[in-house]
Symmetry: C2
Subunit: 169 residues, 2 copies
């Protein structure tokens, strides 16, 4: 299954840290790429820097989101605290070959609820789009503890205390 | 099992959004409270506002972190991308009655690795302390889709499209 993320409502500079976390979470938990409704040099270059050092071909791009969402070929899942619990829909989602996960910030245009095939909640309490995306990908793909990137220049060797990394020339 | 969170390295104003996400994630995924190494009016009041409306007795406090960490009565687990995968330690962690999860930001003082009983990774890729905490709590407590707060003034009724909420007088 290929999973992509669409990040809506990013406000340049104000949201740069949260959006960077959203993008790195997408990559680290097995998504293929992330699309932003706006271009933010700061976020894009820091995510591309991570991809360059830590490997893989995770994609980050800006798109005209309405057109992109309308034309996406696959299942469109909007993460929202108002939606149906993921646990009730996981089996259906698993049947898709391509999934677009839509994560907004505080205000999401009402049409997003209509344009997506599913509105899915990771609990119905207010929390975080970073947390929602992480748990969604962890439960759907279960790749969290198996992520490996062949062309990585830097790799962590898990250890009990301290930090162990291998840098490849 | 009672789980608490200790948030280290919060920089006032710069980190307010990420730290608010950390705190709300702690609450929404079943932790009892969060302790900060610094007091940030902005973060504390927005989290307390959520607790007031959405219910429960989730606690947010600032502490002198070294003393607090040293004296915490229970298992101390530091989340770090350099640590041992959670999956290898979950059974041991589950035996504890009280757990303190320590989440830092970019720079964590080296002594934290020594002061904690375990250094645990949620994957060994760079991502987000919000994502790490969410997956840690989701996998450990599995309460994500069962969180209910009796004294909530506002509650979501999950639905396929749009937003349905009940406000209690």
């Amino acid at each position: 299954m290929e999973v992509y993320v669409l990040r809506l409502g990013h406000r340049v500079s104000r949201d740069k840290r949260i959006s960077t976390h959203v993008a790195l979470t997408a990559r680290a938990f097995g998504a293929k790429g992330i699309y932003f409704s706006v271009y933010d040099e700061n976020v894009f270059s820091s995510v591309r820097g991570v991809v360059d050092r830590w490997g893989g071909d995770f994609l980050i791009e800006s798109v005209e989101w309405r057109k992109f969402l309308r034309e996406f070929d696959g299942l469109k899942v909007h993460l929202t605290m108002y939606g149906i619990p993921l646990t009730e829909k996981l089996d259906v989602i698993r049947k898709s070959e391509r999934v677009l996960v839509v994560v907004g910030s505080e205000k999401v245009p009402p049409e997003v609820y209509e344009m997506c095939d599913m509105n899915i909640s990771i609990g119905n309490q207010p929390h975080s789009e970073v947390a929602a995306l992480a748990v969604f990908l962890d439960r759907l793909l279960d790749k969290t503890f198996r992520m490996k990137f062949d062309d990585a220049k830097i790799e962590v060797i898990p250890c009990e205390k301290g930090k162990k990394v291998v840098e490849k020339p």
